[in-house]
Symmetry: C2
Subunit: 203 residues, 2 copies
DNA sequence: AATCAATTTAACCAAATGGTTAACTATTTG
DNA sequence: CAAATAGTTAACCATTTGGTTAAATTGATT
């Protein structure tokens, strides 16, 4: 493998990620990807065989980002309220870095749920959820928080963290925000959302 | 216009809605729409001219659904907590009826934000938001709830209501739910989410 | 029944699209 | 350096896709 390899291959990946996350599998064009990478279309096939293979690669990477922090935080040994703060902060930071990622992942999973099968070890997920539920139950017994299922709490945390990004253009339009105001709003949420959740479950 | 008109036209719309909401503008095929409507492809063009025009029509309808209840409830004269309950309940009911709608709308707006411009009278939206903020401020002054911006509260309500549908396949997989369990979880949220929000903002 | 407009279809078309081939150009290596 | 290997391209191909056309069918109106 030569030096130029990594450059070209990386350039394609970078450009393909942008194309796929913004336009989806069916909306992205191989010719556009080649053009934007400054190479011939055949080269894309030389490195990645087919559109589907290239897409699968990108999808896998974005899918990983989606869950990158969650597992670590959930199975960490922080107290419950700290975990909530960590998840929210990490979610918002990560998505601020890759704003197109969540809608892309949700969208493509919805169109083709089987793509998710290979990823994600289900056993781990179930264990993590169970452990989280135990931690919740302990706080309930101590009288610190109200009774709630780990499922619902986790869904609430992720909803509040992720949805404002997925709905960005809608929110900006409806609330007539400039990009600056939107960013300001997001920054505010990093603190507010965690507090919101903690208040919601406090006994 | 003959009798058969409405039937054919309606059949196309029905089938096109399914195709577009599930596969998006670029993923849906005119031939498939014609086939599934049991007619010739040229007939689709006879009634709706082009793919873009047909799509715009469907999008407009789905976009309306997205906001159908919000305006009425927000500008109604219910007390704050009742409004929250109403919005959550109506959101969840409506999306249960049209599960593909929110991801479709969010997705297509994200790909082409200008589609939203014609819809939605911005003036009204701004007024509604301002009025809602006044109602919130009144409750804050009474010491009933904590200080919060109408923007953030509204985003929280919509996040908690809508996101679980947008992330349905993901949630089912990660939490290893059957369709029945998922529906059960959604049903639970109709009550729980409103309580969750109200607890979160209670002073 | 004849007529006229609305509806529907089979066949066709041009452009776009994912993919391939064969040749050409570095680059590495024995 | 020569030969093998890897990288790159222009030209081409088959299929798909949105869209069109002209003819046929249907259905109401007189």
């Amino acid at each position: 493998m030569k030096l130029k390899d990594k450059n070209t291959e990386e350039a394609i990946l970078q450009v393909a990620r942008k194309a796929f996350t913004q336009k989806g599998l069916t909306g992205a064009r191989m010719q556009d990807i080649a053009d934007q990478a400054g190479i011939n279309k055949a080269l894309v096939h030389y490195y990645f065989e087919s559109k589907e293979k290239l897409f699968a690669l990108i999808f896998e990477q974005e899918f990983r980002k989606f869950f990158s922090n969650l597992a670590a935080v959930l199975s960490g040994d922080s107290p419950l309220f700290a975990k909530i703060q960590e998840i929210v902060a990490l979610d918002i930071e990560r998505i601020t870095e890759f704003p197109d990622m969540p809608l892309f992942v949700l969208n493509e999973i919805s169109r083709n749920p089987s793509m998710m099968v290979k990823q994600l070890k289900q056993a781990q997920a179930k264990n993590m959820l169970a452990a989280f539920q135990l931690q919740i139950n302990a706080e309930v017994k101590k009288g610190v928080i109200k009774k709630i299922s780990a499922q619902q709490l986790l869904i609430n945390i992720q909803s509040l963290s992720i949805f404002p990004f997925v709905a960005k253009p809608m929110i900006k339009k409806v609330m007539q925000m400039t990009e600056k105001q939107y960013q300001e709003m997001i920054r505010g949420r990093k603190k507010e959302v965690a507090e919101f959740i903690i208040n919601a479950i406090k006994a």
